[in-house]
Symmetry: C2
Subunit: 297 residues, 2 copies
DNA sequence: GATTTAGACTCACTTTTTCTGACCTTAGAT
DNA sequence: ATCTAAGGTCAGAAAAAGTGAGTCTAAATC
């Protein structure tokens, strides 16, 4: 009958969130990614939760984790609770700053697709503040505070443009190219997050795979584009992103073959937003005003 | 179009909890009490939340805080979310340790009412682990992980015993007492958390208030009882707690007058528990087995 | 059968968050 | 006028959370 320590603390909220994410996503690494921490942090959180609880929530193996019956049984309740919490946060933010729209997108999309359209968007929607966050992966809208997601994806939301890819290079370099076989003698640029682009293109163009030797790798698409503009090699380009350069002639497509990737440029928001919210207005604008903006600079 | 910092962090869960508690309870101090921290901590949490949000949630004044429209509008959502979270935790704990019952109660009740009954309870419910936490205030069952609350309260739950109070003292001391007026010459013991007991008794016994001068104060009822047993003075006693001593003759009631306080000894649990849960079994046992246990020691 | 790979764990260390404790301020109540 | 209750502030302390490098294991691949 011990008199308790001063603080009758409930469970650690962070640990509960770590559990929910891990259970929902089926692994600590995935949860770590969603929550923006390292897997080790998740591992520690779960461990402390299990210790406090006195029972394991996951069964560990070298291949990953599997929920125990206890964990599986607990997941739905926490899922709902955190959904509701996220919704409450969303609504609070909306009420506090109704004219602010947070867009999450790929760095490359932000720079090459969204940025050129922003001036006109801002001009047509004065009073609406648009902030853009570049992320490598689409965030979970239920758990983060972004209003819109703009990524290459297969199913979610609505398509803004198909992802058409084909080699591009500077006009000077293009003069040296007549057939795809000429690629063998040139650097083939690509971005790390789109490693399979060359392969996809070669496949869809029915060309042998070996003709695109690995060239310089860039961790940022912008860098690769810059190099292509400088004539440093042939880049496997995404049409949607490079339209201004192609229209302006700074980049040209030396070959006719094009490939369409299964993941199109898509825009989505959280289900259940008011149609008259600022975010939905922005979404509508982005969906309709699809004309190529003028090349800037 | 800044590329965001590495962590697309959502809101701090702790701050949201602080907001919810403050809004629900109508003040930072009350929230601090429920969450087991100092008011300063709550103040800081709310401040950081408001800063992140860019809008105030409370309107401050020297007298207290009032929700802004934004805060008032946000409260229900968070209330539901944290209710659901608490429920999920509760269910998880139940599933993890179905035979463990946590009881929250006053230190005095724990020692003088519950403790004497525990041996028999444990004997009749083997396999059920009962843990007791002594708190000065009844915790919010929706937000903490206790199964049962046992406190003096006016409305909640079911009555286990009325709170009948009257002066008690050692038999030796009682011989010197014939009328309440004799109290003027003796120390009148009382516990800090029951400061008004003497007054209540005097009122209900229709006696002048001045005859119970303030005597030694104890921060723990157990200490006051100990002193009374030692003959150090007259204690304003709670019948429910002192039954064993009265039955055993270690303490006697020198006067006939008794008073009944509006707050009875009551037991309650969170709504919606399964009737076959261990906590409900324990609750049933406590409600039915009301006979006075033998004085121990 | 050897190698790679993905996922998780450990541990020492660092960073960040959270909390306290002492003191100040304010407005209504005594 | 003084008291009291409720907040605010701030420096420093304590606790929590997170990192990063290295290890382990089992399945998948070569």
């Amino acid at each position: 009958m011990a008199i308790s320590p001063p603080r009758p603390k409930s469970f650690a909220l962070t640990a509960l969130r770590a559990f929910e994410a891990s259970a929902r996503l089926g692994g600590f690494s995935a949860a770590a990614q969603e929550l923006g921490v390292t897997p080790g942090a998740i591992s520690a959180q779960i461990k402390s939760l299990e210790a406090e609880l006195g029972a394991p929530l996951f069964q560990r193996s070298a291949k990953g984790v599997v929920l125990t019956p206890l964990g599986a049984q607990s997941l739905p309740g926490f899922g709902q609770a955190f959904d509701q919490l996220g919704l409450a946060v969303q609504q609070m933010r909306d009420a506090a700053a109704p004219r602010v729209v947070h867009i999450a997108t790929l760095p490359a999309i932000a720079q090459f697709w969204l940025s050129p359209r922003l001036p006109q968007l801002r001009a047509e929607m004065p009073g609406t503040e648009i902030s853009i966050t570049a992320l490598e992966q689409p965030p979970n809208l239920k758990r983060t505070s972004y209003d819109l997601c703009l990524f290459f994806a297969e199913t979610e939301g609505t398509i803004l443009a198909e992802d058409v890819i084909f080699p591009v290079c500077s006009p000077a370099l293009a003069e040296q190219l007549t057939t795809p076989m000429d690629l063998l003698n040139l650097p083939c640029l690509y971005d790390t997050s789109w490693e399979e682009d060359w392969e996809h293109w070669l496949t869809q163009a029915a060309l042998p795979h070996h003709i695109a030797p690995r060239g310089p790798v860039y961790s940022l698409y912008a860098l690769a584009v810059e190099e292509a503009l400088n004539g440093a090699g042939v880049l496997i380009g995404h049409e949607a992103l490079l339209t201004p350069y192609l229209a302006g002639g700074q980049l040209v497509a030396p070959f006719g073959q094009k490939a369409i990737l299964p993941k199109a440029l898509r825009l989505w928001s959280m289900a259940g937003r008011h149609a008259d919210s600022a975010s939905q207005e922005v979404a509508r604008w982005l969906k309709t005003k699809r004309q190529t903006p003028p090349r800037q600079g």
